[in-house]
């Protein structure tokens, strides 16, 4: 109907010759009324403050209750008249608190990147089989001890603090990572890669099942205890190693933040803006396996944090800018992990719950509440 179209166009043209066209291009906003990309700094600052606060709470609470004033005193002066308290803080609770912060930050940032790269709200650091790979490594060490002659030696090292376990789990996750990286060179589609990653994870888990089937109940029990997760097994130089790995992983993630932002528009748009998507994919997979692989090795497979924290952070900051989401997710993850650790110790009692159970038990209702309240999970991934 060209005539009708012609008439509409000319009618519009004649109407708009003197009047501002629809959308008011002539209306100019004053400088300070334009939106800013950065979220409120106070939000991020208060997150940081909350982490510091709960860190002190975490140090104070436990089977032996130490008054907060004394905790601050011990941290400040590095000495206290109560030697027992000082030793407890210095050798047990401080490493555990730091581990909680590192683990929470690492898993959250890993999950955030996976969700953006795969454009999937259910993605987490575990989707590419990185956690499963770590578990396989641990299972091999623990379950093989039944046939190995040095079974006693391994048991002597303790369950979660052992270097051997850490080494095995890191090797396991690195192996799975290498397989995934190799496949990702072949597959250009991120969604296909996601499915392949899940499949590789499934294969790994099946291998563990087969191994468990042929193992004695005692060995399975050791392995099961490791899968419950623990923040308490990381001591001294292990903590230093974990910090170095986690901080380099976080640094890699920050470098990728601009590319992750561009990736929000999808691969085709990202390429049209000059982004090398394969480079980004390798950076993100590498960063995530450093973050998730190391934490899983030291603390066991801690679930839930990696999926939930990115969603919490997005709704809190109401942004999708990774330059702010990455540090905020790290803080939010650390905070949630400290809270979970405090709950796991059941303050006032001598019992400790497995951290893996607590993270899901505490976190899931929080996430459901946030999503119901804001309803922007769909907005994030519609």
């Amino acid at each position: 109907m060209p005539d009708l179209v012609q008439e509409q166009i000319s009618e519009k043209a004649s109407k708009q010759d003197n009047v501002a066209p629809k959308g008011h291009p002539n209306l100019v906003l004053p400088n300070d009324e334009w939106p800013r990309l950065a979220p409120k700094f106070s939000l991020i600052a208060s997150l940081g403050l909350a982490v510091a606060m709960f860190f002190v709470f975490d140090l104070a609470l436990g089977s032996v209750k130490i008054p907060i004033g004394d905790v601050v005193n011990i941290l400040w002066h590095n000495e206290h008249e109560n030697i027992a308290w000082q030793k407890i803080i210095e050798y047990i609770r401080l490493p555990k608190g730091f581990t909680a912060i590192l683990a929470g930050a690492a898993l959250s940032v890993g999950g955030l990147q996976m969700q953006t790269l795969f454009r999937n709200p259910l993605a987490g650091p575990s989707v590419l089989g990185i956690t499963a790979g770590a578990s396989l490594g641990v299972a091999i060490v623990m379950l093989a001890s039944g046939v190995a002659t040095n079974a006693f030696a391994i048991k002597q090292l303790g369950i979660s603090g052992s270097w051997l376990i850490v080494l095995a789990s890191t090797m396991g996750s690195a192996l799975v990572l290498l397989i995934i990286l190799g496949i990702s060179m072949q597959i250009k589609d991120n969604i296909v890669l996601l499915i392949v990653g899940i499949m590789v994870g499934n294969v790994t888990i099946s291998l563990i099942s087969v191994w468990q089937y042929f193992s004695s109940p005692e060995e399975i029990q050791d392995y099961l205890i490791w899968t419950f997760g623990s923040l308490g097994g990381v001591i001294e130089d292990q903590l230093l190693l974990l910090s170095i790995v986690v901080i380099s992983g976080l640094f890699l993630s920050m470098i990728a933040s601009k590319s992750l932002n561009v990736m929000l528009l999808g691969e085709n748009y990202a390429k049209s803006m000059g982004l090398s998507t394969s480079y980004l994919r390798i950076t993100v997979i590498l960063a995530t396996s450093l973050l998730a692989g190391s934490v899983t090795g030291f603390c066991g497979p801690i679930g839930f944090i990696g999926i939930a924290v990115p969603h919490l952070t997005r709704s809190l900051l109401n942004t999708s800018d990774h330059r702010f989401l990455i540090p905020s997710s790290a803080l939010m993850g650390a905070l949630l992990m400290l809270i979970c650790d405090i709950i796991a110790q059941l303050p006032g009692s001598q019992t400790t719950l497995p951290i893996n159970a607590v993270t899901a038990l505490v976190g899931s209702p929080i996430v459901i509440w946030v999503i119901m309240k804001n309803r922007n999970l769909k907005a994030s991934f519609s």
């Binding site: 066209p21 528009l265 803006m273």
Partner: protein, 361 residues
């Protein structure tokens, strides 16, 4: 100053199948499917070009090849005098931006943040916007009229609004060339017109070179400086699939190439009205005497009923239009010069004609 910003030289587009790949049950071992061959085209500064063609004629393949997402089978695409294959992804991004049909699936992204992402080829490794970057982003938002939903999330926008935002993002990328893949698809008529007007404005005011693929033939004929018409060749004589003709729309219509192109598919393009004939003449001829809008729309109504309308002919049956008395009036001669009836509305006229022809059927 270079006038042709993008040049296509002896370009053959298509797909190279992987070894041992199967396509539709046939082994396409290393086979090459050519879609269009030996294309020689250029996109000039400040020019709006519409790429027309039926589904599957290779419009998207051509645009993908032009934007460097896909490599050509042979020949080359030159961007400001340099072959696309010799340029880095960033250099291409500085000169050519795209608006795709891909839906943005992640929604926790405000319109402002999305448009600002267009600056990413210019920003440093942390993507911080300079004052200059911000100025360009604001200009892009102002010119596209996306200001009213500046803070809205992209998932809350209508299709038309979303399309304008994506155009704003391409503008923020500040490239001399913009390629748009079906920017008017799924939009209603006012939105389609608004988008075309916006693109027209960008070529005039900002001297952008714009190539858009579209199915909106009438809009393209009116707004484009040049038409690239792709069509599927039916015969199997040639190995490649599509053919491309290009030229000014009026030129293509007047020299009959447009008509010819559509005639091959059994469509009649009427160069007098600039529209396609969609009705078949099943009921014989009808005379119509009169001028102006009244005559035009009466003719349309008669054609819809299946008549071949001959204007200004004293044949029977016939309608004469006059508004001598200041009111629109139709005089209908059904079977003889004496048997005349007068009508004051077109509905009554058409109903009377329908009644007459039902009886005679």
């Amino acid at each position: 100053m270079i006038t042709d910003v993008l040049n296509i030289k002896d370009l053959t587009i298509g797909y190279r199948h992987k070894k041992n790949a199967m396509l539709f049950g046939q082994n396409t071992n290393g086979r090459i499917s050519e879609i269009a061959k030996d294309l020689n085209l250029s996109l000039n500064r400040g020019e709006l070009v519409c790429l027309l063609g039926p589904n599957g004629s290779g419009k998207s393949t051509l645009m993908r090849t032009m934007s460097g997402i896909q490599s050509p089978l042979s020949g080359r695409v030159e961007l400001l005098g340099k072959p696309l294959t010799k340029l880095s992804a960033k250099d291409i991004a500085l000169n050519l931006s795209v608006v795709l049909t891909d839906r943005i699936s992640i929604g926790n992204l405000s319109v402002y943040a999305l448009v600002a992402l267009g600056r990413s080829p210019y920003t440093g490794w942390m993507g911080k916007l300079s004052a200059e970057d911000e100025k360009i982003v604001r200009e892009a938002i102002e010119i596209t009229g996306t200001m009213p939903f500046l803070n809205a999330h992209i998932s809350d926008l209508s299709d038309g609004e979303r399309q304008k935002v994506m155009i704003a993002r391409a503008l923020a990328q500040d490239t001399p060339i913009i390629l748009l893949d079906e920017p008017t698809a799924h939009l209603d008529l006012p939105n389609r017109i608004e988008i075309i007007r916006l693109l027209r404005k960008l070529t005039h005011e900002k001297c952008k070179s714009i190539l858009m693929s579209t199915h909106e033939l009438d809009l393209a004929l009116q707004a484009a400086d040049k038409i690239w018409l792709m069509q599927v060749i039916k015969s199997n004589e040639k190995k490649y699939k599509s053919d491309l003709i290009s030229g000014m729309p009026e030129e293509l219509i007047l020299n009959g190439r447009f008509e010819e192109a559509f005639a091959r598919h059994g469509f009649k393009f009427d160069r007098n009205t600039g529209s396609f004939q969609i009705h078949y003449h099943t009921k014989g001829t009808f005379g119509l005497i009169g001028e102006g809008a009244l005559a035009l729309w009466t003719k349309r109504a008669l054609e819809r009923m299946g008549f071949k309308v001959l204007k200004d002919t004293a044949i029977l049956p016939r309608v004469e239009i006059n508004n001598d008395l200041g009111v629109d009036a139709w005089r209908y001669y059904s079977d003889s010069e004496q048997n005349e009836t007068n009508f004051l509305s077109i509905t009554e006229l058409i109903e009377a004609i329908q009644a007459n022809h039902k009886i005679s059927d």
